[in-house]
Amino acid sequence: MASESHIVEYKTLGLTLAALLVLTGVTVGAASIDLGWINVWIALMIASVKAGIVLLVFMHMRWEGRTLQWSFLATVLFLAVMIGFIFWDVAFR
C-alpha cells in the first residue's frame, strides 16, 4: 500500500550502490572505445538504467501505489513527447 511506511534493508541499499558504481565504470569503459554515433546511445542507455535503479530503490518508487507510479510515468512520457516533437522541426530543417 502506498500509505504504509517501509524500511529498505542495508543489504539492498548496498547492492544498489554497488550496481550504480559498476554501471559508472561501464560508462567510462564504453566511452574509451570509439564506436562512432553508438557511443552516445550506449551512454544514454546506461544513464537511463541508473536513473531507473535510483528511482525504484532509493526513491522508493518500487513500493509506491499505482497512482504515483503512473503519475511518474506520465511525466516521463510528457518529457519524451516534448523532446520528440521538437524533431518535427530540427530533423526536417
Binding site: T67, T75, V81, F85, W88, D89, A91, F92
Partner: protein, 547 residues
Amino acid sequence: MTSFYQTPEPAGFAGIRSWLITFDHKRIALLYLFSILFWFLLAVTLGGLIRLELMFPGKTVLSAQMYNSVFTLHGVIMIFLFIIPALPAVFGNFFLPIHIGAEDVYFPRLNLLSWYLYMAGGIVAIVSLFSDGFPDTGWTFYVPFSISTNTNVSTAVFAAFILGFSSMLTGLNFITTIHKMRAKTMGWLQLPLFTWSLYATAWVQLLATPVITITLVLVVVERFFNVGLFDPARGGDPILYQHLFWMYSHPAVYIMILPGMGVISEIIPVSARKSIFGYKAIVASSLAIAIAGSLVWAHHMYTSGMSETAVFVFSLLTFVVAIPSAIKVFSWVATLYKGAIEMTPPLLFSLCFIYLFSVGGLTGLVLGAAGANIHVHDTHFVVAHFHFTMFGGTGFAFFAALHYWWPKMFGKMYDFKKAYIAAILVTAGFMLHYVPMFVLGLQGMPRRYYDYLPQYAAGNFFAGFGALCMIAGIGLMMVNLLASLTRERTAGTDDPWGGVTLEWTIPSPPPLHNFDKDPEVMDYPYDFTKVVAAGSGAASMDSETGK
C-alpha cells in the same frame, strides 16, 4: 454557527497577522483574491495607458521606451499574476476541498507557501521596474533581444521563475487533494465539473511549468555567463528558445481557460435548473484539452523559420484542440435548451463568456491554419484573438465566478442592478475595444508598434473608446462587490441560486472545518429534482437589490 472569519487568533498574531500565518484554505483563497484583484486593477490601468497612447497618432501620454515597458509589464502582470492563478488560486482553493467533502487541502502549509511565493514573485517584478527599468521585450522575453537589451530582463525573468514555483505547488496540492481527500462515498464521476477542470489544469501546471522555469534560468545563464544557448552570434539557436518558451506558454493558455470552463459548467446547469448535458463528455473534453493542448505549442512559430514539416504537423494538431472545446460549448448550450432559465448576474457573465470565447476560439482556427497565419502573424488580429479567449474567456469566467460564489464566501449579496449594468458596460466596451483590432490586424497593423500610419487612426480611436467603457464597467463591478462587504449579512445566501453541489449545503460563509457532519454525496452532482420541486433559487430574492 461560527464562520471561518471567527477563527480563534493565535497569541501574538491578532488581526491581519493571524491571516498571514493561516493554513485554512478559505483564508488563503481570500489572501489570493485581494492580492490578485490588486494586480488585475494595476494591469488594467497599464492596458488603459497603452490604448490611450494609441488612441491618437504620435505621442499622446507615453514615450516610446516607456510604451515598450508598459506593454511588457501589462502582459507579465496579466499573465503571471492574474490569469494563471486567478481561478485555481482563489476559487480552487476556496471550493475544491468543499466540493469533495474535505476539511482542507492535502498540504495546507504548502498552500500558504504558494501564496508567499506568489507575493514574492510580484514584488520582484515591481522591483525590476524601479531598478534598471522594466524590460522592453514583451512578456515573451524572445531571444536574442532579451539577451542583448540593457533593461532589467534578469530580475523580471527571476520574478516569473518564482511565480512558476507557486503555480506548480498549487497544482501538486490539488492533484493530491483530489486523489486522497475525497469523501469516502464520492467516486470520480460524482465530482463537480469545476473540480474536474482543476484536476486537468493541475496536471498541466505540474508538467509544463518546469519547462519555462528552466528556460528562464537558461536566459539568465546566457546573459551573465555568455553561454551560447540561444544567441546565434554565440552558436546558439533562437528557435530552440521559442520551442521551450511555448512548450509551457501554450499549455498555460489551457491552465488559464480550463478552470474558467469549469466555472461555466457549474453556473449554466444551476441557472437552467437542469442537469448538465453530457457530464462525461465535458469531463473527457477537459482531459483531452489538457493533453492535446500540450502538443500544439509551435503554432506560435509559423514564421520563425522552423521546418515546413513542423508547420504542417502543428497546424494539424491545432485543429484537433478545437474539438473538445466545441464539445463544451455545445454541452452548455444544450443544457440551456428547454431549461427553466433564471437570469442572474453570474448567468449573464456566463452567456457573455460563451459568445466571446466562441469568437476567440473560431479566430484561433484562422491563426491555426498556417496559410492564413502568415498574413496576420504579429498583427493586431493576434492581439484581438488572445484577448477574446483570455479576457473574454477566462476574465469573464472570473467575473462570473466572483458573482456566483461571492455570497458563499462573504455571506453578503451585491446589488443585482449595478451588476447587470457593469456586465453590459464591460461586454459592450470589450466588443468596441477588440473588434476594431481584428480589422486593424487584417489591414496589416503590427502589434506592439508605438505609432501607426494614418489609415489605422479610426480603428485605434474606436478601440481606445471601447477600452474606456470597459474600464468604467470593471470599476462599477468592483465598487458594487466591495460595497456589499460594508453591509450587514444578507439572509438567504446559504443557497441563493438553487445550487446542488456541496458548497450550497453548508452555511455562508462556511464554518472553519467546512462540514459539521459527514457531507451527503449525491449519486449524480447535478440532480435538480429537489430544487425544482421546492421552487427555490434566485427568484426568491429581490432582483433590484439582490437582497
